[in-house]
């Protein structure tokens, strides 16, 4: 990295233009449009006509198609590749994708279980007022270590 490369001058020829950006072509926009339209119509069709009996399966398919369509948009409309802005676009994108996945996944996971454990049925009866913080049912028993 830190060593000056002998062939460095030749690679900078591609960057003479101050506004050199991957612009896309008519072909890429039309391909993206057709793919995005197909990936939009399928989930609408599935949900509006209730094609599949299983709701869980329908939700899973809708979400998978959404991810596929987001990839189509990134590739064909935003023209994200490893070369644009010297790779920094891709780096920033990967970084934020990782963070978004952590934020989305972990928050949904944590808050879902919190919701489950804060259900009214899970609350202790009012005959024990000293337990102001009820212990959730799913709390592992190892938490209550015997005091020696």
């Amino acid at each position: 990295m830190s060593q000056p490369h002998p062939s460095g001058a030749s690679s900078s020829d591609h960057h003479d233009d101050a506004l050199h950006v991957h612009e896309g072509s008519l072909r890429s926009y039309l391909t993206g449009f057709v793919l995005a339209a197909i990936l939009t119509i399928i989930p609408f069709w599935l949900v509006m006509n209730q094609v599949i009996d299983s709701r869980a399966a329908t939700i899973a398919i809708v979400l998978i198609l959404a991810v596929a369509q987001i990839v189509v948009h990134i590739v064909y409309f935003l023209h994200l590749d490893t070369r644009s802005e010297g790779g920094w676009n891709m780096l920033a994108f990967i970084f934020s994708t990782v963070l978004v996945v952590i934020v989305l996944g972990a928050s949904i996971w944590v808050l879902y279980h919190e919701n489950m454990n804060m259900m009214p049925g899970m609350m202790p009866t009012t005959s024990q007022p000293q337990h102001s913080m009820p212990m959730p049912m799913s709390m592992p028993m190892t938490m209550t270590t015997p005091s020696s």
Binding site: I74, L78, S107
Partner: protein, 208 residues
């Protein structure tokens, strides 16, 4: 660059920078991209709120009772087509055809304005039915997420109109083209977020 100065003050010969790295003539596009990535987090947190609160109806209407999927299909089509027509406007940069560029931009702007109009109509309808943002946690998270996206699109349209005036008056100068590229990223990014909105908030919201 500062390390270069320090290094040269001690000994002259070695250079500790990468010659392969392309020179950054204009950091605006990268900066704008990083803004969009940070915008991802706003939407991600709003999506989380909707995911967690999406079934807290508080005895109020559920998703399948208030969502109009036909209207949603129209909205989705408007935004998708507007994304493509904006791409066509960007292609005119290479052709250098200002009239065609302005034409495609105007079409994109009208389609996005139609999207905002339909969304406002939907919101007004829902509030009139008693399904306003104050009704339940589900509706609060719905209005927060979809409203934030709608505000983004609205500001995008305002930006587009300003830029069209600039383009018309000063032509496709490098400054205007740079602004146009930023707006283009913004435009496609909002369409990308909408994919998540219509898939998760509406289609999954109807099912759960």
């Amino acid at each position: 660059m500062s390390t270069d100065a320090i290094a040269s003050s001690r000994r002259p010969a070695p250079t500790f920078y990468c010659r392969e790295e392309p020179p950054v003539h204009n950091g605006t596009l990268l900066g704008f991209w990083i803004y969009l990535m940070s915008d991802c987090f706003i939407f991600a947190s709003l999506f989380v709120a909707n995911a967690v609160l999406g079934t807290q109806y508080a005895g109020g209407p559920t998703g399948s009772q208030v969502f109009d999927l036909v209207g949603l299909a129209w909205n989705t089509a408007l935004l998708l087509v507007s994304s493509v027509t904006f791409g066509f406007a960007m292609l005119q940069i290479q052709q250098g055809n200002k009239r065609a560029m302005l034409g495609w931009l105007a079409i994109s702007g009208l389609l996005a304005a139609g999207f905002v109009g339909l969304e406002i109509h939907e919101f007004v309808d829902m509030i009139a039915q008693g399904a306003g943002p104050g009704r339940s946690a589900f509706l609060s998270s719905f209005f927060a997420l979809v409203g934030t996206h709608g505000l983004h699109v609205t500001f995008g349209v305002i930006w587009l109109v300003v830029l069209m005036v600039q383009l018309n008056r000063y032509g496709a100068t490098p400054d205007n083209i740079r602004r146009l590229r930023c707006l283009s990223m913004f435009w496609h990014f909002l369409d990308l977020v909408w994919v998540g909105v219509f898939s998760y908030v509406y289609l999954v919201g109807v099912l759960r």
